[in-house]
Amino acid sequence: MKMQAFELEWTAKMMDAIIPPGVENDFPKSASDTGAVKVLEELVRYTPFFTALGLRAAIWFIEILGPLLSGRLRRFSKLDPAGRVQVLAKMYQSKIYFIRQMVLLVKMTACFGWGVDPETRRGIGVTDPPRFVTRSKP
């Protein structure tokens, strides 16, 4: 299943609300500055039909209904960055399990992309090449 360009744009805005640019000097990049959106796009492309459908449904739910849960009458992608963070933060703390899971899903995929970015890894303190021991095979 293939995601449409507008769905990828929505996804980028959701991921950037979770992992915004700047904020901490150690981590200047946002999620969409890395390969995070592609992670979700590939998940939708390569997972079985119903899984892919569920992933897309989560994106549509956040885009259309997410803001309503915070009493906002605009779509998620039309909100300003601060509003997007507030919507996702509220969903993340929702008493309804599936609403929390939707945000968690987007966050996990965002982290898969953001967390492997060399700049993020350096900011976190991962040395490259890794600081492992040299040990010969017995």
Binding site: V85, F112, G113, G115, G125, R131
Partner: protein
């Protein structure tokens, strides 16, 4: 991939279809399938191995979890058990199966579990403890099993050992199947230096060198049965990621078909083939070790991405509380997804990443679920029991106590209903954590049941000769035949049972 296996390894049918035959067809190349193939080949039988996933080379592992998920995990890691909560199920799908993506933890089967199997499920004709011990000895030699060396222990493992010792809890430095581990903490995303002695590096090449054949990227669709006896496997080559078709395979089995496809795929294959249903137990009794993790923050750097992925564990509470604890190192792509917060708050929390420790609490679940085929895939229904969640909660509290004894300043519980971060003096908050499974972020890594073994055809799918009761020539050697879960990491027991079972099959 190493060695010269030209003419013995296929990932497609160049002319659209391959028709072949063998004494035994082994479906699956994970811990059980590879062991079975090795034993049967050594006994002089002609063996054809079928594997749904690819043969992934170590050079393809770049340390990214998502890369590994695309290449080695079933459905890119999105398989989940559906019930009161959604529990992702981690399954390998590549040559080597789960052994490629696990953390190489070796546990001999607990003697009390074995005795329960013999007593409650009448397995004395199928398995003898002496045979199991001999199998463990052989496997430990073949797979170079040894405790984590001090130089690759990693601080996160060492601290937990210290914390458990302070509390007087039994725990250990984990023995692992590895040769030359450099402490990259990349076990779950594939070892890039071939240190982990997974079955794609050990038993699959052994079998190939002794004349076996391997068909990978090849999904077994159905077992063909004629007059009550299985005679062939009908399979389809396809790109494991994209599903692009690459031809068909028919392998006729002169002596038997050994199914080692996992407790999720094995019952589905049997179901689609009309095999094993007469018992009324096919696909039932699915269980495992679902678990949840706890993060702590130490005053100094711990660097979860350095050292053995899993170098410390404890089964102190396995019998009483039905939980097991294990350290779990990870790289930032996985770790950050467990760090609380959205937006600026999340990024601020990530600043603590290098001081974080992480421990998983695996439940010896008392619940049972069910597996049914759903198209090419499977539907798994499973809900943890109330007792499981109670055990999980007290297990997590004990882990927090170990972390604090090891010097942790605060705990990140990742439990909905508790604060995002709690101080080391606030551990009593765990006592009030909700007992709703939806409040925990769980994952399941070890699966059992669904084709349970029992001498009575009304009580099990497989008999003590490891043959399906209602169809001659179909044998099952994976953990789908296990009548209960183990409470410890199962690879070693799975391989030992496969070793014992394959020897019996080979001598028939």
């Amino acid at each position: 991939m190493s060695g010269n296996y030209i003419g013995r390894v296929w990932d497609r049918a160049a002319n659209g279809a391959i028709v072949a035959d063998a004494d035994y067809v082994v479906i699956g190349t994970g811990p059980s399938g590879a062991t079975a193939a090795k034993v049967l080949t050594e006994a002089g039988h002609e063996v054809a191995m079928l594997e749904e996933g690819r043969w992934v080379r170590a050079e393809e592992f770049d340390g990214s979890s998502f890369t590994a998920q695309k290449k080695c995990y079933r459905e890119l890691g999105t398989v989940a058990a559906m019930g009161k909560n959604m529990i992702p199920i981690i399954q390998g799908r590549c040559v080597g199966g789960g052994s490629v993506i696990n953390a190489a933890i070796i546990w001999r089967m607990p003697r009390d579990v074995f005795e329960r199997w013999v007593r409650d499920f009448q397995l004395s004709d199928a398995l003898a403890w002496k045979e199991m011990e001999a199998a463990f000895d052989l496997l430990e030699s073949d797979l170079n099993v040894r405790p984590v060396a001090p130089e690759v222990m990693g601080r996160h493992n060492a601290l937990l050992l210290e914390g458990a010792n302070k509390l007087g809890l039994e725990s250990r430095i984990i023995p692992r199947n590895e040769k030359g581990c450099q402490g990259l903490a990349q076990c779950t995303s594939g070892c890039p230096i071939k240190a982990k002695q997974s079955t794609d590096l050990i038993y699959v090449p052994w079998a190939l060198e002794k004349g076996a054949r391997l068909y990978h990227s090849c999904r077994a669709e159905r077992i063909q049965v004629e007059t009550g006896r299985a005679v062939a496997v009908l399979a389809r080559f396809e790109d494991p990621l994209t599903g692009e078709p690459r031809g068909t395979l028919t392998v006729r089995a002169r002596k038997g078909i050994v199914v080692c496809a996992s407790p999720i795929q094995t019952p589905c294959l049997l179901w689609r083939s009309g095999i094993g249903r007469s018992s009324g137990h096919l696909g039932k009794h699915f269980t495992g070790h679902p678990g949840a993790g706890l993060i702590c923050i130490y005053p100094d750097e711990v660097r979860l991405w350095e050292g053995a992925t899993q170098g410390w564990d404890s089964e102190h509470f396995r019998k009483e509380w039905k939980v097991k604890f294990e350290a779990l190192g990870m790289h930032p792509d996985l770790l950050t997804s467990r760090i609380p917060g959205i937006g600026a708050e999340f990024k601020k929390n990530v600043l603590d990443a290098k001081r974080m420790g992480n421990v998983g609490c695996a439940m010896v679940s008392q619940a049972e679920g069910r597996v049914r085929p759903m198209g090419k895939n499977a539907y798994v229904s499973f809900s943890v029991s109330d007792e499981d969640v109670f055990n999980l909660r007290r297990g997590l509290k004990k882990i927090a106590e170990i972390m604090v004894a090891a010097g942790a300043e605060s705990i990140v519980p990742n439990i909905f209903g508790l604060p995002a971060k709690i101080g080391k003096d606030q551990l009593k908050l765990f006592d009030d954590a909700p007992l709703d499974p939806q409040c925990y972020t769980m994952v399941m890594t070890h699966m059992f049941g669904t084709c349970r073994i029992n001498p009575d055809p009304k009580k099990g799918v497989v008999g003590p000769d490891f043959q399906v009761h209602d169809t001659k020539g179909v044998f099952i050697l994976d953990s789908s035949i296990f009548p209960t879960n183990l409470g410890v990491n199962p690879q070693h027991t799975i391989m030992a049972v496969a070793q014992v079972g394959a020897k019996k099959i080979a001598s028939q």
